[in-house]
Amino acid sequence: MNTTPPDWNAYLAQMESVLGVELDDARRAELQLQFSRIASMAAPLMALPLDDRQEIAGVYKA
């Protein structure tokens, strides 16, 4: 397993291009801040082992 910390700024720069978004430096800095918050929430979630038959959630059945 690759344990090198991701370079999120490089990832976001790629995504700017992939999604066709134009940003100035101030907006890019705010985007990096917002994304880093989400990334910190995603880390423990991604570390959680789920059963390989676990499907995504649907609506409740009465």
Binding site: I38, A42, L48, V59, Y60
Partner: protein, 465 residues
């Protein structure tokens, strides 16, 4: 007796005996909104003409001595993301302000219209329903009726303030991560977030299709139940609506606790709140004989997963406009939405799979209890403009964290009634009463017990004119 002192059933009786007419109710309501709303900034549009016409329809039924529908003559307001025919649906966003008017009412508004309700107008919210404070940069902040310097909560802040000020008997809001329960808590009223999929959302502007719910606010449990009963109905145009039968909860309220077991939801929920919220939980637990404390160990992960799903679906929905019209976005949300649009799909899918896993895990708690008690907000309302609050010794951003105790529960899609208590200083603070899927009647019955024994307090705020 003034209008706000009368329950829905009291108004029904007064209409039946001729003590009141629907026209008088509409005119009194419109007059009060005109006087009080400038201090609250709750209404973004007032539908006076429609309200008076709806009232005239009710008065025609009265004159002809025909039966009145269940919400006849009852004034209400809706969050401005519900379609109302002839009005632009704003969803709190300047971005939508130039859109054409809605051609038809949303499903929920149609249900309320056929039940005889009188629509007073549309009310303020956080832009796109993305926030917990209703500090809207374009339409202004909505003020808490109990302390005008404080936030009303969000994102359905206008809906809660309108009811808490005593200006309408009920209102509609939506709840993706806490947007009914947070403002109900901070404004001191009852709120109901039904089971995910119970009520049709069609004709409301979506934020996160996987998590969006609609529901009512009211100052009385019987009123809340009556409105919830009227909102139910099968609607094939909402593909997320569950295939459940209608339940009429209003007739069940007087059953009390008969057969219902209550317990406190501890751990994460008692850690991330202040002493006022803990005292409110202890008071309710004592009144309900709820001695057991149960745990949901994955609560923090559930909050994170809800955050990822919300950011991802919301970000994707707004991506075209983020590309083409970034200057027209709410500055508090723009880069948060854009960050969501850039989330790797693996995170989003893991969050959705975890949701199914967490639902199964939480279900086991309901073999020990029927209703779980937890704070709805970490504390009472903060000041408008206040950026951070200290909870559990940590500074937390208000805008994102006021819903940290509601997010894990809506992630699971469970029905919740929020009940209003007061802190030692008199500030409103609400608790969540959480039940198993499709067991709305259980949390409404417990709310009614607390109301009947005087534990809850939803008296309207007195606002100087």
């Amino acid at each position: 007796m003034t209008l706000h002192e009368m329950s829905i059933s009291a108004i029904q009786k007064a209409l039946g005996t001729g003590e009141l007419s629907a026209g008088e109710i509409a005119r009194q309501t419109l007059d009060a909104i005109t006087r009080i709303n400038p201090q609250l900034n709750a209404w973004t549009a007032i539908t006076a003409e429609r309200m008076l016409a709806e009232a005239e329809n009710i008065d025609t039924l009265r004159r002809e001595k025909r039966p009145l529908p269940p919400l006849a003559g009852i004034p209400y307001a809706v969050k401005n993301l519900f379609d109302v025919a002839g009005h632009t649906t704003l969803a709190g966003a300047e971005l939508f302000s130039q859109r054409p008017a809605a051609a038809a009412d949303s499903f929920a508004v149609r249900q309320l219209r056929s039940a005889g309700g009188l629509l007073s107008g549309m009310v303020n919210m956080d832009a796109y329903a993305y926030g917990f404070t209703t500090e809207n940069s374009h339409y202004g902040a909505t003020h808490n009726p109990h302390d005008l310097k404080r936030i009303a909560g969000g994102s359905s802040g206008g809906s809660a303030a309108a009811v808490a000020a005593g200006l309408v008997h009920f209102s509609l809001g939506t709840d993706t991560n806490g947007s009914i329960r947070v403002p109900a808590s901070l404004c001191g009223i009852y709120g109901l977030k039904p089971t995910f999929g119970r009520l049709s959302r069609s004709g409301s502007h979506p934020f996160v299709a996987s998590l969006d719910h609609i529901g009512p606010f009211a100052r009385r449990v019987s009123d809340l139940a009556s409105v919830y009963d009227a909102l139910q109905g099968r609607d094939s145009s909402d593909s997320f609506q569950a295939d459940s039968s209608r339940e009429q909860t209003r007739p069940l309220l007087d059953r009390g606790l008969d057969g219902l077991r209550c317990a406190v939801l501890g751990g994460y929920f008692s850690t991330w709140c202040d002493a006022d919220a803990r005292a409110a939980v202890a008071r309710v637990a004592k009144a309900l004989d709820a001695h057991d404390e149960l745990l949901f160990p994955d609560a923090e992960l559930a909050r994170s997963a809800a955050f990822i799903i919300s950011a991802s679906e919301g970000g994707n929905q707004y991506l075209p406009a983020l590309r083409s019209k970034p200057a027209r976005f709410e500055p508090h949300s723009r880069e948060r939405l854009l960050a969501g649009a850039m989330i790797p799909s693996a995170w989003y899918i893991q969050a959705q799979r975890f949701r199914a896993h967490a639902r199964q895990a939480f279900k086991t708690l309901f073999s020990h209890t029927d209703v779980l008690i937890a704070p709805a907000t970490p504390r009472s309302a903060t000041l408008i403009g206040e950026q951070t609050m200290e909870i559990n010794g940590q500074p937390l951003p208000v805008r994102a964290s006021m819903g940290m105790l509601t997010q894990p529960i809506s992630f699971l899609g469970l029905p919740v009634t929020t009940v209003p208590l007061r802190t030692a200083h008199g500030a409103p603070i609400g608790l969540q009463l959480i039940a198993a899927p499709f067991n709305e009647q259980a949390c409404l019955r417990v709310a009614r017990v607390l109301e009947a024994c005087g534990i809850t307090d939803a008296r309207p705020a007195e606002i100087a004119q």
